[in-house]
């Protein structure tokens, strides 16, 4: 503290306190130079320094103890889903994870805290200046470098032999191309696959909820299974035999079935493409392809949870809000001889997100 006071009094501004008339030095804003160092308690009192030393050592010791505790917890705390700890406000968690996290965290934190406390209390805190040189080279150095470079250029004949220069530049320009070329087999050409779904006339509609765990069995849907206001996620029967193509097929061909009162449906085509008020729409959002899922029964609005594009399922799947630009495509449906809902035809347009070739 006393250091600061001295500094103030010896500043170059002297003020006549009685009259408030000042005498100002040559440049009142000149740099007075580094302020005097203020010693810390640990610098002047060995007892305080000893205490610091003990705290640092204590933290290092704590770190070592926590490290050993970590290894003990690794073997001793059971790691299974039934051994959990539960405390406010973090909720339930694995006891093993909790014990390992706490011990590892303390081991690391105490190690760091010890080192920092050591630096702050016992190592020097006298700030010293170090000179900083301009990064730019001296003119002599620059001249020498340029001379060396020009000698090198002259030795190579780079300027005198333009044939070599041009062919080299040309060859170097094309050399990286194979790095792009060789990536061709990363995937197939799109062809028309982006336009195709698994839906063709007569394809049975499978209720997603009925598909077995192994994905090979599922049940069709009869019109009488669906009450007005019911929404069902459904797939083409082809997914049951798609094997490792199941996800690819789902991401193109997933549909929604919803039953409405025909009087609520605003479009005659939509009624015609449906069956007794049951209509089928692509489940894949026309924005960036998330499955649409949130259905408002009263308004017939279907919301995509990803970016809130909202479609009116009673009006040709028209977009009424959000970033999607196109209606959800409707799948024409009917019932087959067994009374199950089937596709009357495929989609009349590509489903899912827009793409350049879509048109």
């Amino acid at each position: 503290m006393s250091g600061d006071m001295t500094h103030d009094e010896h500043g170059s501004v002297a003020v006549d306190e009685e009259h408030g008339h000042g005498v100002v030095a040559e440049n009142p804003f000149a740099d007075p130079g580094l302020p005097e160092h203020t010693p810390r308690l640990t610098d002047i009192d060995e007892k305080v320094a000893r205490k610091s030393e003990r705290i640092v050592a204590g933290l290092f010791l704590l770190s070592a103890i926590a490290t050993i505790a970590f290894m003990v917890c690794y073997t001793e705390v059971p790691n299974n889903t039934s051994t959990i700890v539960n405390f406010f406000p973090l909720g339930a968690m694995s006891a093993s994870n909790f014990a390992l996290g706490i011990t590892l965290g303390v081991a690391l934190f105490a190690m760091g805290a010890g080192a920092i406390y050591w630096a702050r209390t016992l190592m020097t805190d006298v700030e010293v200046p170090q000179e900083r040189h301009l990064l730019e080279s001296t003119p002599e150095d620059k001249a020498e470098a340029v001379a060396e470079f020009q000698q090198g250029m002259a030795d190579s004949g780079w300027k005198q032999r333009p044939l070599i220069r041009r062919t080299l530049i040309g060859a170097m320009a094309v050399l990286p191309l194979p790095a792009v070329w060789i990536l061709r087999d990363l995937g197939p050409q799109p062809g028309t696959t982006q336009r195709q779904t698994a839906w063709t006339a007569g394809e049975l509609i499978i209720n997603d909820a009925s598909i077995s765990l192994d994905g090979t069995r599922g049940r069709g849907i009869r019109p009488e299974d669906l009450q007005v206001g019911t929404l069902v996620s459904a797939s083409p029967a082809a997914v049951l035999t798609a094997g490792d193509q199941t996800n690819n097929m789902m991401s193109m061909s997933a549909i929604l079935l919803v039953r409405m009162n025909t009087v609520d449906i605003k479009s005659q085509q939509e009624i015609d493409w449906g069956y007794e008020g049951i209509v089928a729409f692509s489940k894949i959002c026309t924005h960036v392809g998330c499955p649409v899922q949130l259905f408002e029964q009263q308004t017939h609005h279907m919301l995509c949870p990803c970016h809130q594009s909202t479609f009116d399922l009673s009006d040709n799947g028209r977009v009424i809000f959000g970033p999607a630009a196109r209606s959800l495509p409707q799948l024409p449906i009917t019932v087959n001889a067994d009374g199950y809902l089937v596709a009357k035809a495929g989609f009349d347009q590509p489903v899912g997100p827009s793409f350049w070739e879509r048109g």
Partner: protein, 541 residues
């Protein structure tokens, strides 16, 4: 050059000394050690932000190596029979199954997964805050523009690395994130469909994307990040750290404490603090509980699903954009996707990368700067930065519109519309307000220089007037508060030569002059010596 120095040769006796001698005879390390062991670094809390980036990256490397030992980067299908019974018998990819295995059956596996995820969030967040510090203090000015670009590249790579890692477990959330990415790639004109097919090996999702992203995530991007971090640090070391203005601190020196021992202990210790912090988070706070989401199925989704925070801006922009799409000549162009996916981030990130060069062009300043600016002393730069933060913030908030809506009982549509307006209005308002605040703060500094600090002592004059005695500032403070530069706008003179021929590049010069008026047209001048003398002698301090 004299040979007598050999007589004074040090003969090492300790083990460390002998090892150093061994190395020196082969590598000549003494020269580097002599210069660098006691290298001075300035001290300020904001200088540790970059350290957090470095240390969280090391934590990511360490925890990531552990995770690769148990993770199977494959989309091959398996039936789960592990210890997490709610998913028993469910078909899933090997990637998802091995992530469940790491979470439930490998001891310490969940801890490492959670440390890895938390450290990733800390990494990106620390980079953002570190960059803002550099921006607002003008530390990007000459000679550090190149290091700004390296840092910017690191930022972009950190975002990419985070997204790749997030996508690897092949859970419902990560698969949905990939689906959105694929939908956006499809919107790229001409080549979008091809890029998507090459990236995913055909139709989405295919079976290639997880192993491919795995290579990108554990080899390609971290390798590049590691290389760039090394370059970044070498430049910090070589160009020496910037410092704040203050007594004894000039553009030609660096004032602080020596690397050995102070910063070795402080920085080394801080590594353990950051690591310990992420370990405690990993042990105590559940993050990304992929077992609750289930495996990725393209037809399923959960409402209210959110990406990691650093994707929120892009997500919000995608949600905000009105549904514009054009069809022409048998092709589809989707501004509703391209604007938030490419154009807005392009402007935001391009502007961020190029800002140092833009400002240098406007100010015409070619000098080296090692003293930091206080943000208030560069009001327009500070206002641009704050406007950028607000722009980013509005997009980010809109990324959570579906969570805000139920919490505050608002409609998603209303929030989106407010944000559609706010994305333009709020940054403009923030720009104006920030400049006002900066000018206000500068005037307060000016006042302090002229009249000193309020002492809290009230006196009453014989006439009955009350006034507070002001204590003049110590000279160190006077120097600190007046050491900044006040830039002035350019005025064009001699726009034509004697023959009436316009000067070359006149339009560019006019633009530059206009930019300097925008930057520096309104300003608070520094206290001149005359003003100061006047204030002192009039006694009103």
């Amino acid at each position: 050059m004299s040979t007598s120095t050999t007589n004074e040769e040090i003969v090492p006796t300790t083990l460390g000394g002998k090892a150093s001698e061994y190395l020196d005879q082969r590598l000549g390390i003494a020269g580097a050690a002599k210069k660098n062991l006691r290298k001075i670094f300035p001290d300020h809390w904001s200088f540790m932000l970059g350290e957090i980036c470095l240390y969280s990256f090391i934590v990511l490397l360490l925890s990531g190596i552990f995770l690769t030992l148990f993770f199977t980067p494959s989309m091959g299908e398996v039936t789960y029979n592990g210890s997490y019974t709610p998913l028993d018998g469910i078909r899933m990819s090997e990637a998802y199954a091995s992530t469940l295995n790491i979470s439930f059956d490998v001891r310490g596996g969940l801890l490492m997964r959670q440390i890895h995820h938390w450290a990733a969030l800390v990494f990106v967040m620390a980079i953002m805050v570190h960059m803002l510090r550099i921006f607002f203090t003008g530390a990007f000015r000459k000679p550090r523009e190149l290091n700004w670009l390296i840092g910017f590249t690191l930022f972009v790579m950190a975002l990419a690395e985070g997204f790749c890692g997030y996508s690897l477990p092949d859970d419902l959330l990560s698969g949905t994130g990939l689906r959105i990415l694929q939908g956006m790639i499809l919107a790229i004109p001409i080549v979008g469909t091809y890029i998507s097919y090459f990236l995913f090996g055909g139709l989405f999702p295919g079976t290639d994307i997880v192993p491919r992203l795995f290579t990108v995530h554990i080899l390609l991007v971290p390798g590049l990040i590691l290389g760039l971090i090394t370059a970044h640090l070498i430049l910090v070391f070589y160009q020496k750290h910037t410092q704040w203005a203050g007594p004894g601190r000039t553009n030609q020196n660096v004032v602080g404490l020596p690397l050995m021992p102070v910063y070795m202990a402080k920085a080394g210790g801080f590594f353990f603090v950051v690591f310990g912090f992420t370990a405690l988070l990993g042990g105590l706070v559940t993050i990304n509980p992929i077992w609750l989401y289930g495996p990725y199925v393209p037809t399923q989704i959960t409402a209210g699903s959110q990406p990691d925070f650093y994707i929120g801006f892009f997500e919000g922009a995608l949600r905000m954009m009105p549904n514009i799409e054009w069809n022409f000549w048998g092709h589809t162009l989707s501004p509703n996707i391209l604007v938030p996916f490419a154009i807005v981030p392009g402007i935001l990130f391009g502007g961020l990368a190029m800002y140092p060069f833009l400002e240098a062009w406007i100010t015409g300043d070619r000098r080296e700067h090692h003293i930091l600016d206080r943000p208030r002393n560069m009001p327009t730069r500070t206002a641009i930065g704050v406007a950028g933060i607000v722009f980013y913030g509005v997009g980010w908030i809109n990324g959570g519109n579906d969570l805000i809506a139920p919490h505050f009982n608002l409609s998603v549509e209303a929030i989106t519309w407010v944000d559609r307006v706010a994305i333009f209005v709020a940054p403009a308002f923030a720009f104006w307000l920030t400049r006002r605040i900066c000018f206000g703060l500068q005037r307060r500094d000016r006042d302090k220089v002229l009249h000193g600090r309020e002492s809290g002592i009230i006196t009453r004059s014989p006439e009955g007037q009350f006034s507070e005695i002001h204590t003049p500032l110590p000279q160190g403070d006077l120097h600190t508060l007046t050491s900044h530069e006040v830039h002035h706008p350019l005025t064009l003179t001699d726009v034509t030569d004697a023959n009436g021929v316009p000067a070359p590049n006149l339009r560019l010069a006019k633009l530059r002059a206009r930019m300097t008026r925008w930057y520096f047209g309104e300003r608070v001048e520094k206290v001149s010596e005359e003003e100061y003398r006047e204030a002192i002698s009039s006694g009103h301090h």
